[in-house]
Structures are given as structure tokens and as C-alpha cells.
């Protein structure tokens, strides 16, 4: 059940699909064996099994968080073909909304989902309708600059309203628990689970609802969709709203273990782009896999090359994967 928006409607033709599956298996085998070798090297460098296990568990969990943050990004790219540079800013906005909700109403942080997610949805629809729909046919750089401008504006509105002092949201009962001998903060596990749930929800919405079918139709062929009577502009707005809601959910779930500043979302931007490309742009389960690859690469690189920024390893992996699989690990070659 692939929820790749790139090739969603052509789900028939078993002859065409079977080789793709084996292709996927090949990718999976290569990925796993590379990971195994890297893990072995990391184990030698770490010199302690506890440290290695901790690195692996942390890698998986942070990977989940990266994919959580990247989910809206990949959805919006898949349908609108816009690289949304405002994704991080939207996540930061959601963090502040969480803070405000918790601060004023004194509720549990996760109940803020009920407020933040719909609010972000409305904002997303407004942004798409007012700013991006007019430039949907413009070249990629136009849309990119609009989202960059949007990111600047959102971050600085947050600075203006909340001031520069960092905020925080405390999660009641946020203790460390032990998994396979590794220690993990509960809030990070919740966020990881949240990522899985978000993948499931988005997949369901796209596969099983009428609006999801329209979205996939628009993603695959906007002209064709228009011909069969779909209002593409409103589908664009719905999609951006969904993307903003995903960013909103990410913001709420990440808020308890993050220092909330206007730039708190932007620090995820880099990794989120890598995650999205690795998973195949527009491929929602792919984002989950991409997140895990990035999370593990970061952790293991930290053990193997302690003098370099772990992100360097992430970008090198990214470039290599990009050249070998130009449409992402699970994307199809054209």
C-alpha cells in the first residue's frame, strides 16, 4: 500500500508492479547491509554495547521525529510541487500555539492538538489561496521565494509577539524509560508513535476518502483532474491545509522536548528536506524511512567520526543516494 502521490493513480498492471517490488527488496537489502556494516564499525569505535544500543535506539526515535516534521513537506511537494521552505516556520508557529494553549488554559500539552491542528489547517488554506494559488503555474523559483518570504515573515511575527526569550512546555510524567537497555524520554516515544499515526492517517485520507482521491488525481495530472470537474485550486488549498496541519501536529508533539524559539522549527528544515528527498518527494511512508535513515546516520556518524558534524555524514549519504536513486530510495526511476 504505497501512498506515493507521484504514481498514485496508476495502481493497476501487476506486470509492471512486480519488478518494482523486487527492486524495492533490492533497495531494502542494500540499505540493511550498509547499515549493518556501519553499525559494526560504530560498535568498534564506541567500545561499549550500551552506547551502541543507545545510539541505535536514539537514531530510530529522532528519525521518527524528523519524519514527523517532514510529513507536511512531502505531502505539499507531492501535490503542489512546491518546496515549502516555510514548513519549519509553521512547525515553530505550532509550538508557540501549543505554548499559548497550555499556558492560558492549563491543559495537558497533547490536548493542544485539538486547537492547534485545526487552526493550522485554516491558516494553511488561507496561505495557499492568497499567496500560492496565484503562482501555481510560475517557475519553481517563484514558489520557492514565496515560501522563503513566508518563513521570514512567520518567524519574525513570532519574535515580535512573543519576544526573544525561549519558552517551554512541560509534559506531565515525562520520565525516562528503558528500551533494550537504552534510556528514552517518554515524550520522544510519544512523538515517534505520533509519526506512525500521522502516516497512517494521511495514508487513509489519501486512499480511502473522496477528497483523498481528488488530491491524488490532481497530484498525478492537474489538467486531467480539471477536465473531470475537480476544482484544482480548492484541492491545492485543501492539500496545503493538510500539510500545515501535519506541521501543526509535529509542532505539538515536538514542543515538550524542544526549546521554543522562533527558529526552533527552522533547525529541522535541513534534515526534513533530506528526509523527504530520501523517501521520495511526495511519498508519505517514504518520509518515515527517510527519517530513520537520517536519524541512524546521524547517531552512527557521531560515533564513527566524532570530530565532524554528524550532519556532514547525512549530506554525503544524501548526495550518494540521490545520484544512485535520483527519485529517492523508494521513488521510481522515470
Amino acid at each position: 500500500m504505497a501512498t506515493s502521490l507521484q504514481n498514485a493513480p496508476e495502481t493497476t498492471g501487476s506486470a509492471a508492479r512486480r519488478p518494482t517490488l523486487s527492486e524495492r527488496q533490492k533497495v531494502a537489502i542494500v540499505t540493511v547491509s550498509v547499515l549493518a556494516v556501519v553499525t559494526a564499525v560504530a560498535a568498534l569505535r564506541a567500545g561499549s554495547s550500551t552506547v551502541l544500543v543507545q545510539a541505535l535506539v536514539t537514531g530510530v526515535l529522532t528519525g521518527g521525529i524528523y519524519s514527523l516534521v517532514a510529513m507536511g513537506l512531502t505531502l505539499i511537494y507531492g501535490v503542489l510541487h512546491i518546496i515549502n521552505f516555510a514548513n519549519g516556520a509553521l512547525v515553530a508557529l505550532a509550538m508557540y500555539l501549543t505554548f499559548v494553549t497550555v499556558d492560558t488554559m492549563g491543559v495537558h500539552p497533547y490536548t493542544a492538538l485539538l486547537v492547534v491542528v485545526p487552526a493550522m489547517g485554516v491558516l494553511g488554506a488561507l496561505l495557499q489561496t492568497s499567496l500560492l494559488n496565484p503562482v501555481m503555474r510560475a517557475p519553481i523559483q517563484i514558489q520557492l521565494l514565496v515560501t522563503i518570504g513566508l518563513a521570514l515573515a512567520i518567524e519574525n511575527v513570532l519574535l515580535l509577539v512573543f519576544g526573544p526569550t525561549p519558552r517551554s512546555v512541560q509534559l506531565p510524567g515525562n520520565v525516562g524509560v528503558s528500551i533494550l537497555g537504552a534510556t528514552v524520554e517518554l515524550s520522544r516515544i510519544y512523538a515517534f508513535v505520533g509519526a506512525l499515526v500521522l502516516v497512517a492517517i494521511l495514508s487513509l485520507v489519501l486512499q480511502r476518502t473522496a477528497i483523498g482521491t481528488s488530491i491524488r488525481a490532481v497530484a498525478a495530472n492537474p489538467e486531467g483532474a480539471r477536465l473531470v470537474g475537480i476544482n484544482t485550486k480548492s484541492i491545492y488549498s485543501v492539500t496545503f491545509a493538510l500539510g500545515a496541519m501535519a506541521a501543526g501536529a509535529a509542532g505539538v508533539l515536538v514542543a515538550p522536548f524542544t526549546t521554543i524559539e522562533p527558529t526552533s522549527g527552522a533547525i529541522f528544515n535541513l534534515t526534513a528536506f533530506v528526509v523527504v528527498v530520501l523517501g521520495g518527494m511526495g511519498n508519505i511512508p517514504g518520509a518515515l524511512v527517510g527519517g530513520l535513515v537520517v536519524g541512524l546516520t546521524e547517531q552512527l556518524a557521531g560515533l564513527i567520526l566524532p570530530d565532524e558534524s554528524p550532519l556532514l555524514a547525512v549530506f554525503v549519504v544524501f548526495l550518494i543516494v540521490l545520484f544512485i536513486r535520483p527519485k529517492g530510495v523508494f521513488g521510481r526511476a522515470s
Partner: protein, 356 residues
């Protein structure tokens, strides 16, 4: 764009074949470009006589933006390769110069050549991989972005390049053209920068007129058709990358010599890539003069906005003293310009003129 099935009368008026060819707009426009370039450089050279020192700082930034925009425009505007990582070439130019001057004791001019060489090699290398492996659209764009980021992280982890600190060019007393150093506020910085910009513009004009340039534009419009007509698309795109990387590296050298300082974030951060794109897009991509117009508008914009908010006009005093408001205003203006004039300011003017 006209969609009628009859050609415009103006083109058929002459009737004869030769008549049409002598009025070929392309070559005339290009010859006009040389004239415009000469006039532009001559007029712009007078700027230091009329601007104050702090305004000259902005004028110098206009030059840096313009060179970067011209460089980006070659690759993205004429070559059709949307780069979001021009910080890579800017940064290589800047670091090569700074390293040359501070560590190797070279003249900045040699550092500039070094920067151009490395920048071209890196650009051609990474673009060869990207084009060879047929990265397209957003994937191509993200690969350029990742390349610049990887360079930034590499420098941060490299002791020989001073990690996060970067380089500071030693201050000398007196002026020296060889050392590309003058007293603070000297108009020579501006004149040298203008000279460099002039050369980059000349390179841009020559490129567009040249065979490789025209083949590149053909490949941008349709690479399959270009290949079918015997054009080696890969080679020509790489040539465009080389020209683009070289020009952008020049901006890096100029930056270092003017600001006398560079660090990994300045050199390879996303802001540098953004500046190149914003300049060209606001002015008009795929036009010779678009980046100049874009630089003249966008480079001073943040100063203007900040200045406006520092001492607002009567009635707007309540706007003062809010950190962040200046950037919000800048962002709003950027978004508005881009949405309302997607072809850019100069690009829109040109297409209006063509239509009428």
C-alpha cells in the same frame, strides 16, 4: 502571446528574405547590450561622488548582489538548471581568497583566480554527476542545496580552514591595488567592484551571443530537441555551470576583500544562495539586465526598511522599536513583488514592450 493563426504584419511587411534578416532583433539587441553596458558602467562610476560613506556601503552590497545574480542567472536563467546552492561557488571564491591571503600570503587577485578555478572544478564535477544521473526538477535543486550545505559542514570541521571562525584579512595601512586594500570608505572598493561587475556582465552578454550560449538556451527550452539537432546538451550545460560558478566566485573574492572577513555561515549558508536567487528573480531571470535591476532594488531594501522603522515618519512612531518588524516588512515586499511580477521587474518591462 498571440495565438492567432496569422503572423504579425510587421514581420511580413518587408516581404523579402534579406530584409527580414537585416532587421533581426536578436543581434541588434545584443549590440545594444554593449552600449548599455558601457553607459551603465560610466554612469555608475560616478556614484561615489554623490553618495555618503554609509550609502556607499549599500552601493557596494548592490555590486555583490549583482555579481551573484548575474552568476546565478547564467546557470538558472539561461541554462535552466535551478540552483539553490550558489553559496557553494560564492563560498569557494571567498575562502580561496581568504586562505590565499591569510595563510599563503598571496595577492587577493591570485586568490580570486584560485577561487575561480576551484569553483569551476567543483561546479562542473557536481553538476556532471547530477546531470549524468539525470536529476531533474526539485531533486536537482535539492542536490545543489545539499552540496552547499556539505561544504559548509566540511569547513566547520576542518582545522586548516579555521572551523567556525573563518578568516579575517589583516588590516594594512595605506592603499594598494595589488593587495586590493584601501582605507575604509575608499571609493576604490566600489570602482573595482564595478569593474568586476562590468566584466561579469560582459561575460554574460558574450555567453548569450556565443554558440555555446545559444546552444545552452536551446537545451534549456528543450533538451531532447537540442540533442536531436546534434547539440551535446551535457557539455553545454556544464559550460554554463562553469561560467556561472566562475562569476559567483568573483563575488566571493570581492566580498572578502570588502568586508575583510568570512566564516562558514556567511560563505556557504543558505542566505548567500537566497541572495543570488532573489536578486535574479526580482529583476527577471533569463535576461541580461534583470539581475542588475534586482540588485538595485533588493540589496538596499533591508537597509531602507530598517532605516524607515528606526525613525518612522510622523504618525508611524508606534512602529519603532519592535525587533523583527523590519524583516517582516522586507518579507512582505519580497513576496508581493514575486507574486505580482513573476517575470521580475525588468522581465515584465521587456515582455510588455514586446507585446505592445
Amino acid at each position: 502571446m498571440t495565438t492567432t493563426a496569422t503572423p504579425r504584419t510587421s514581420t511580413s511587411a518587408g516581404g523579402g528574405l534579406t530584409g527580414r534578416l537585416t532587421t533581426d532583433t536578436g543581434s541588434q539587441r545584443s549590440r545594444g547590450d554593449y552600449v548599455v553596458l558601457a553607459v551603465f558602467v560610466a554612469v555608475a562610476a560616478a556614484v561615489p561622488f554623490v553618495l555618503s560613506a554609509s550609502d556607499m556601503a549599500i552601493a557596494n552590497r548592490v555590486l555583490i548582489f549583482a555579481i551573484m545574480g548575474v552568476g546565478w542567472n547564467i546557470m538558472a536563467g539561461f541554462g535552466g538548471m535551478f540552483s539553490f546552492g550558489h553559496a557553494a561557488y560564492f563560498g569557494i571564491g571567498a575562502y580561496a581568497t581568504a586562505y590565499g591571503v591569510v595563510v599563503l600570503g598571496l595577492s587577493p587577485w591570485l586568490g580570486m583566480l584560485l577561487g575561480i578555478a576551484i569553483s569551476v572544478a567543483a561546479g562542473v564535477g557536481i553538476s556532471y554527476l547530477a546531470l549524468r544521473y539525470k536529476l531533474t526538477g526539485a531533486y536537482y535543486t535539492m542536490s545543489t542545496f545539499a552540496f552547499a550545505e556539505a561544504l559548509r559542514l566540511f569547513v566547520i570541521g576542518n582545522d586548516a580552514l579555521n572551523r567556525t571562525v573563518g578568516f579575517t584579512i589583516p588590516v594594512q595601512q595605506g592603499s594598494s591595488l595589488v593587495d586590493f586594500q584601501f582605507p575604509a570608505g575608499s571609493p576604490w572598493y566600489y570602482w573595482i567592484g564595478l569593474g568586476l561587475l562590468g566584466m561579469c556582465l560582459l561575460a554574460s552578454i558574450l555567453f548569450v551571443r556565443s554558440r555555446p550560449g545559444r546552444f545552452t538556451i536551446a537545451a534549456r527550452d528543450d533538451d531532447v530537441a537540442a540533442a536531436a539537432l546534434g547539440i551535446d546538451v551535457l557539455r553545454h550545460k556544464l559550460f554554463a555551470v562553469a561560467v556561472s560558478a566562475a562569476i559567483t566566485a568573483v563575488a566571493g573574492t570581492y566580498y572578502v576583500q570588502y568586508y575583510m572577513f568570512v566564516d562558514p555561515e556567511i560563505a556557504f549558508g543558505a542566505a548567500a544562495s537566497n541572495d543570488a536567487i532573489i536578486t535574479a528573480v526580482v529583476g527577471g531571470t533569463g535576461t541580461i539586465w534583470g539581475p542588475i535591476v534586482g540588485a538595485i532594488i533588493m540589496a538596499p531594501l533591508s537597509d531602507v526598511v530598517t532605516g524607515f522603522l528606526r525613525t518612522p515618519p510622523p504618525g508611524f512612531e508606534w512602529l519603532a522599536g519592535h525587533g523583527g518588524l523590519d524583516i517582516i516588512l522586507y518579507a512582505v515586499i519580497l513576496v508581493a513583488v514575486v507574486i505580482l511580477l513573476p517575470k521580475g521587474v525588468y522581465g515584465t518591462l521587456v515582455s510588455r514592450r514586446r507585446k505592445s
